[in-house]
Amino acid sequence: MTTDQSTMTADPATRADQVLADVTEILRDVIGEEYIVDMSIDMDTSFNADLELESIEFVTFADRLRETYGDHVDFVGFLSEMDVDQVINMKVGEVVQFIVDSLETDTPAAAR
């Protein structure tokens, strides 16, 4: 993972691109099936409708995100009040945006 480089980038737009790239790489790895290799994943991709992600795969996905972003991003807080259906019906962009926002507000010193 290129965590340090991602979080070091100051420009928000670039950072969003990098987070999306990280998230996409993790998703392809978690799903681990052939059909996902050629599928383009962008901010509008739905975990449920497009990726058909199982709820347990989202558990693994969130775990990998925690490994990647550590304490900078509070995934427990993010998922606290969401039902499983709400989680699975999210778009990839909602997770990316949450990570980007967390990185900007949480660690300004480390990010620059």
């Binding site: 058909e52 558990v59 693994t60 304490d71 427990v76 807080g77 009040e81 499983v84």
Partner: protein
Amino acid sequence: MAEIVANGVRLHVQRLGPKGGAGPESPVVVMVHGMVMDNIASFYFALGNCLAGAGCDVICYDLRGHGRSERTPTGYTMADSMADLEGLLDALDVRRPVHVVGNSYGATLTLALGLARPERVASLTLIEPPFLIEGLGEEMARSLTQVLAAVTDEEVEEWLANSAGRAVSRITRASQALLKETTIAEDMLATPPFSPEALASLPMPVLAVYGANSDIIDQAEGLAELVPDCTLVVLEQHTHMVLREAADYLRDLLRWWLFRRSEPMPSHQVRGAGFDTPDWVRQMIPPPNLNSGDEPTTSLSAARAGSSAEA
């Protein structure tokens, strides 16, 4: 992925804590999911993150054979499952008494742990435990026979072809394999019944939650009568699937149970329109219909399941 070897079995574990991490005073909460058509995800989303955010040190795990944990060919008895859970607590170096929250057969296991190892348990939360004092194993068997009958090859293939997406088909196939390739069915048949004397001396507080429309609601009052310190919550309109149906309320209830028990219990608001439990959940997870093998159930093949249970 967090993997821990406990009792010689590789278990998938997710440990969740509040922002900044759990402290030495944080309540440790262990969540035990149901058998066969279930895994870590149900508690992880319904209560795990929520209670971690509220300040708990939460341990969610996949039971042996389920989710991302190792599928051993044997070792699915109540005693095995308890040894796995105790081994997990040891491996995580959890020495303080823990609050155990179980769903369905996971709640039955939770209750068994409270009886066998009271010194390790601070409180029990039992969500829809199939609970019989006499002949539990036998009755559990009938329920399992229904589950087994509900996942025969041809039916599953037909059902998958008609309706299921990738996510559903994967958990269906995993459950099918679990039932076919392991001793889980016969091990569950061997589940010993609970003794009423033991239940009457259960030392820790117990929170029992049932859906008013559950097939096993008639067991709720027996539990509340026997267990000395039992808070019984029966949720109107809800079914055996109450963990999924009423997750919002259960979050409030568990925050109250763990942090504010001296205050009044949060009230349950009945929603007029019913719930949004997807049909496939209702169809694929038959409630443990413990008391009659021949009444209609919501399983895929209720009629055939009933007749084969009788035979």
